[in-house]
Amino acid sequence: MDESLNLVLFSGTDDKLQAAAVLTAGAAALGKPVNIFLQYWALDAFTKAKVETKLALAPEAGDEGRAAVDAAAKAGQVSWAETLRQAKDLGTVDIQACSLSMDILKLEPEDLDPLVDGTEGVTAFYLNAGDGQVVFI
């Protein structure tokens, strides 16, 4: 299980971030290193301004999906950000902002939640990914 899991997060919806956080925590529990590369709306969701706020859901969720997700949160489901914090505490999880997306969204490093470890370009991401799987969410 030494091969890394490499997630490219693009979507900034609560459900996709939650799914990514679950994959990350599972890998961390198995001792698999995880590299996360944040692009566009996923990066926006990792800003201090948004990380703890209620985010939109994927379009297919609809009203019923919204109600189901809200009910799970109310019942104490751990948020995606908290799941990632615990995954980082448990294993090797490196979260990097895409430098192009930082530029497009006019973000500075201090705008980002401390979950984000730094900023890099796509080449650095591929170098760290090595022969591990790359998943786009």
Binding site: A25, G26, Q77
Partner: protein, 78 residues
Amino acid sequence: MATVSVDLTVDARGLNCPMPIVRTAQAVKGLASGQTVEVIATDPGSVKDFSAWAKTTGNEIVEQTADGGEFHFVLRKK
């Protein structure tokens, strides 16, 4: 309840996937080799998840029971 002696108990009742495994892995990190942890979970995925986790990490499931929607595991650290 566990019939072997346990060094630590993780109450993961009410927690959804992957939190039972995450909490357990965190607890196991603090144990010495050969020590045991008991886990109580209600997540129906936990039976397959703990089996996969034990197989991958080399930690051993020494006891496993299910009772009324609760799953008990005793795991021994590698």
